[in-house]
């Protein structure tokens, strides 16, 4: 009981910390890190919910399966977001180059 609560609250705090960082920090890697921490927080609550001390019965495997799914999803998204961030960094200077080259032919880039 206490253990469940303890870990659940930890998960909650991790979620909050991640959320704050996600919005306040502007570095893309930091944002992605924050999302990962948030996800870990959510998973922690979920697994803690299923936790039963030894000898008190079988553990519910469904949350574990859900967390496994969640981890895989989060890794995939993280990888994609990282590549996107790299690409963004790479194009920003290329775009600058292109712009300075043909400054007459600029198009309005969106907000």
């Amino acid at each position: 009981m206490i253990t469940t609560l303890l870990y659940s609250l930890t998960g909650m705090v991790l979620f909050g910390m991640g959320l704050f960082t996600l919005i306040v920090h502007s570095h893309p890697l930091r944002k992605i890190l924050a999302v990962n921490v948030m996800a870990t927080g959510v998973f922690l609550i979920l697994v803690a919910t299923a936790y039963i001390p030894f000898g008190k019965g079988a553990i519910d495997p469904v949350p574990h399966a859900m967390v496994l799914t969640g981890i895989v999803v989060s890794v995939s998204v993280t990888a994609l977001a990282l590549i996107l961030a790299c690409r963004l960094q790479e194009t920003s200077n290329l775009d600058l180059r292109a712009k300075t080259k043909q400054s007459s032919n600029t198009k309005e880039s969106g907000t």
Binding site: A39, V42, T69, V77, R87, T91, D95, S109, G110
Partner: protein
Amino acid sequence: MIFFTTETPAWIVAPVVLPLIAGLFCFLFSHRTFSIALIAALLNFLAVCFLTRQLILFGPMHCHMGGWQPPLGITLRTDGPAVLMLLMTAVTGLGITLYARGYFSHRMVTPVRSDRHRQQQRYFWPLWMLLLAGLNGLFLSNDIFNLYVTLEIVGISAASLAALSGKPASLLASFRYLLVSLLGSLTYLLGVVFLYRSCGVLDLDLVQNLAGDGVEVRAALALLSVGLMLKTALVPLHFWLPPAHANALAPISVILSALVVKGSFYLLFRFWFEVFASIVTSSALNFMGTLGAIAILWGAIQAIRQHRLKLMVAYSTISQLGYLFIAFPLARVAGNAQLWSIVIFMALAHAFAKSAMFMAAGSVYLHLGHDRIKDISGVRSSLPITVFAYGIAGVSLMGLPPSGAFIAKWMLLSSSLASAQWWWALVVMSGSLLAMIYVFRVMSRFFVIPAGLPPDTTEPLSPLMEWPSLVLALISLFLGLLAPWPLLILAEGSTSLAQVFPGGMP
């Protein structure tokens, strides 16, 4: 060996599995991807038609994946709203597939950057097919965690698609989109966790039965809603939408604006008025309605202020999504059936009209090489069908009769007047007028006869780029006259809304 009959519920999986396989093959093979996608889109359409027929003949269907009953297994089910959303996706999807073909082959003709264009075309098809599978799965799934996975599929493929143009602006928008989508999913997942804590089940029917009105369930609903609102871009959380939608390639803008936002909205609506209907309070409904009202006005005003056509259309999406939420506070008066019809009509009409409009905007962009509203004069004579489609789509967005949006607005107005909440009616009317301004601000530029001769530089657009938008616009316009059919499907599906499942353990 099992023999399938028309009554077999297992047909339900077709709209998910078909595009899924198509997506895999589109990725695997580098040639004939369009043919694979087109066949999949056609088969998907046929499958959805079949499901519709099945629904009308035999009522709602439940299909247990792997034969495992809830609470353990995952259930897919069809009911009226789900089938209508599937139909919307299938029809729009067919149009998008054709349009994208025209779009990419037109771009391939141009010699500059053909490398990049080939790359875009190469990866568009698998991403789009998987997105389609995810969306169909989302509309069909009856399992709250499975919905999370489908949301992720939709989110990731949508973000990848949004980045496909490779321009820095679209990369930035897409990065933001991906993060927002992730944030939304995580918030949603936290809601699922809260729900699982208090109910211990994942099947929506069981959740509906087991969820009391405890504070934990309320918190879960709040979290689920916030997550989905983020993905739906309801107004304070809308910031990511316009750049992502406007900077994407044209067929992708269509997908994002017409379909993707509808998925999360559909879920949100289902949660509020089906699964958790018993714990939703009036003040919460009013709150959502207020947000919707702000969205209508704010989005429309922003749309009027834009200088670029695609941005304008994107802001118009924000405004139009507001209409979906303004229906919430009328739930108490209008009743569930009426509410579903309002929302479904609005969603359908918007999907068709917005896809037509984005297609038209994309064609104009491709034709002129830009989409600055002040310089688009003279397009009327070179792209008559596109301009026509744009106009009809605009009419539909304004909610003029006989469009589907008109039916929705009619029901909105009559229920708000019947319940003496006339302020919602006022917002709806002013939203229509603002929509008129932004639609015709562009429309009138189309009609300007340019002073000099237009530079006749570009290739003529392929008919695949013009006709799908016109057909979709016409569907959206005449949806109002076809209203009895959606209503029939909705009525068939409504039994599932009341259907009670035996709860507890098997």
